[in-house]
Amino acid sequence: MYQFLYDLIGNEIIAGLLVAIVPLTIILVFALFGIWLERKVSAHMQDRLGPMRTGWHGWLQTVADLMKMLQKEDIIATDADKTLYNIAPVLVFTGSFAAYAVIPFSSKLLGSEVEIGIFYVLAISSLVVAGILMAGWSANNKYSLLGAMRAAAQIISYEIPTALIVLSMVMLTGTLSLDKISQMQTSSFWNWNIFGGAIFGLSKFLLIPFMFVGALILFISTLAEVNRIPFDIPEAESELVAGYFTEYCGMKWGMFMLAEYGNMFAVSAIIVILFFGGYQSPIGYFGNSVGVQWLVPFEQGFWFIAKGLTLVFVQMWLRWTLPRLRVDQLMTVCWKYLIPYAFLNLIIIGIISLL
């Protein structure tokens, strides 16, 4: 994608910018769609209808919200720490937007095919913690301070199980680059990593249960990184009013929302790539069978977004069923349950891959 544009324009800065525009639009479009989806899913799960007024089934609702947020007055608390207060939302949004640089949406559209894809994603996503701490501290409000402290503890401690599961997958597939991992899981869904990857024989069947356990642990720990129920303690509505972004309003608050939904899709994209075969279609490509070669990347894009959305739906589904954990229980779940299971999983996958 970048190479193609670079040959076209010649100047790498403009080409780089153009390449960066594509994931940005994807995030914005997904955020608008995600917020609407969340309101409709939560509504129908609770026997109500959700937004119905703006357009058919309220699909323009999020656009209306965006307009409202844009023209809202931007109030800054008088004794808030101005500079930190303004940087925080930008930092949080860039943290989640930067992760999209390496996510391969399809074989053609894959941003920078840098070799250390997954390692880069882990590093960038911890930038969000700094943003949240800044937001909490600079708002000079006791509730946001409590929320920020909780967020720091939660996101940092949940990076360890994520790193362990990613480690076990990298050990299995041998590469760090997300694009290569997706390419290894070609042709049918039976070759997806969740079913033991594209190898044959006994070890494939032995791997399947541990792959399921690994996917579950990754799903839970990334849920905690994105602050979604049952781990949404930093912005617990019923205890801390709105946690670290209590004092924000207008577009700054909008940035936090955008970052949360952007993170949600980025995290489910990572899980899809690692376990559910990235942009590979489960049942072969319609384009190949019909011989229309240029259709394949679009199909890949479609499959990738479809899988991403199902995982986002599961995250929303969890949000509207489960209550919220307490801060110390959150730590016990991470340190006493997820990390030991992730270690065990890592060791067993290592042994099986030696067979």
Partner: protein, 371 residues
């Protein structure tokens, strides 16, 4: 020399999403650990007792509705029994049956709100919507009989303001058949959910002797294991004709008397109320509900203390009359006022998130605390 840390005073102030009304909790916290809780009340004080001294006896009833605005039928019931005891008049059977049915329906509606807000405070938003949908059935039953949804002024001294609607009996039976499976669904979704149990078991344990010493009553006392219910201890109206058990906290999940027990006692009580309604709905005797309403109510000089089992606990009315048409003094013993005193004891050593869970399990309503 340990690091010098000072405690932070956090105001869970009058405007807070989960203080169930205008209550200010002054938390002294160290990090997340709570050292002391000081409740400040009085934000919703509407001088009920001063008003009552200026009104005639029947005019006080709309004011009693506004005490515990989630269980207005129970408040009317208490006040009306107190004045009838003072007057010493005989109530027709039909009125007694209808009053018991209305009080039990109101208990279910009030417990639905208590359970819904307790769940919502801990984060589960979906049960909140399901339970409010069921509560809507009960409110439409009330609206059908007396025209109002929450503040009824339905029970008068000596009778009722309206007779029940012709198809009230059929609709109540419909409600009972609809409501039983939803309790099972609630148990699947929330009561036995591991995260909910984790958040409420062994949190805010109220030992039995402090509960009695603090005068707690209702689900808060029964959650600590004592099966004390005014309908069984000091039977008023015709409650001695119905057989129903008194659910108490048994510590199925954590210690006896923790938040989960108080929550689960309310769920079981709803089922018991359904049984009472079923026993009462079929044999409502015929009769006129307004026959025993005296034209001029002038009770003799004297004092009376009558108490009623409200969904939040034992609601008592202490009325002193000096012989003319206005009561001389009306003192309300509000259950939430007494249950809230336990808050200071319960929250020591817990986390900020537990204060919300404990407050939700105490199920207080600021209307009757501040009067």
């Amino acid at each position: 020399m340990p690091l010098k840390t000072e405690t932070m005073v956090l105001n869970m102030g009058p405007q807070h999403p989960s203080t169930h009304g205008v209550l200010r909790l002054e938390l002294e916290i160290e990090g997340e650990l709570i050292l002391s809780v000081k409740p400040h009340i009085g934000y919703l004080h509407r001088c009920f007792e001063k008003h009552a001294e200026a009104m005639t006896y029947p005019q006080v009833i709309p004011y009693t509705d506004r005490l515990d605005y989630l269980a207005a039928m129970g408040n009317n019931f208490g006040y009306v029994i107190a004045v009838e005891k003072l007057l010493g008049i005989q109530i027709p059977e039909r009125v007694e049956y209808i009053r018991v049915i209305m009080a039990e329906l109101q208990r279910i509606a009030s417990h639905l709100v208590a359970i819904a807000t307790n769940g919502a405070d801990i984060g589960a938003l979906t049960p909140f919507l399901y339970l409010f949908r069921d509560r809507e059935y009960i409110l439409s039953l009330f609206e059908m009989t007396c025209g109002a949804r929450m503040l009824y002024n339905y029970m008068w001294i000596g009778g009722l303001s309206h007779d029940i609607h012709p198809d009230f009996v059929r609709k109540t039976k419909e409600f009972i058949n609809h409501f039983r499976p939803t309790i099972v669904e609630l148990n699947n979704l929330l009561t036995f959910n591991k995260i909910f149990i984790e958040r409420t078991a062994n949190v805010g344990i109220l030992p039995l002797d402090t509960a009695i010493n603090f005068g707690a009553s209702g689900p808060v006392l029964r959650g600590s294991g004592l099966s004390f219910d005014v309908r069984r201890e000091d039977p008023y109206s015709i409650y001695n004709r119905f057989d129903f058990e008194i659910p108490t906290g048994k510590g199925l999940v954590g210690a006896v008397g923790d938040c989960w027990d108080r929550y689960y006692v309310r769920v079981l009580e709803m089922e018991q109320s359904l049984c009472i309604i079923e026993q009462a709905i079929d044999n409502i005797p015929e009769g006129d509900v307004k026959s025993a309403i005296p034209k001029r109510i002038k009770p003799p000089k004297g004092t009376v203390y009558a108490r009623v089992e409200n969904p939040r606990g034992e609601l008592g009315y202490f009325i002193i009359s000096d012989g003319n048409i206005n009561p001389f003094r009306v003192k309300v013993r509000a259950p939430s006022f007494v249950n809230l005193e336990v808050m200071g004891e319960l929250c020591k050593g817990h986390l900020v998130a537990d204060v919300i869970a404990i407050l939700g399990s105490l199920d207080i309503v600021l209307g009757e605390i501040d009067r």
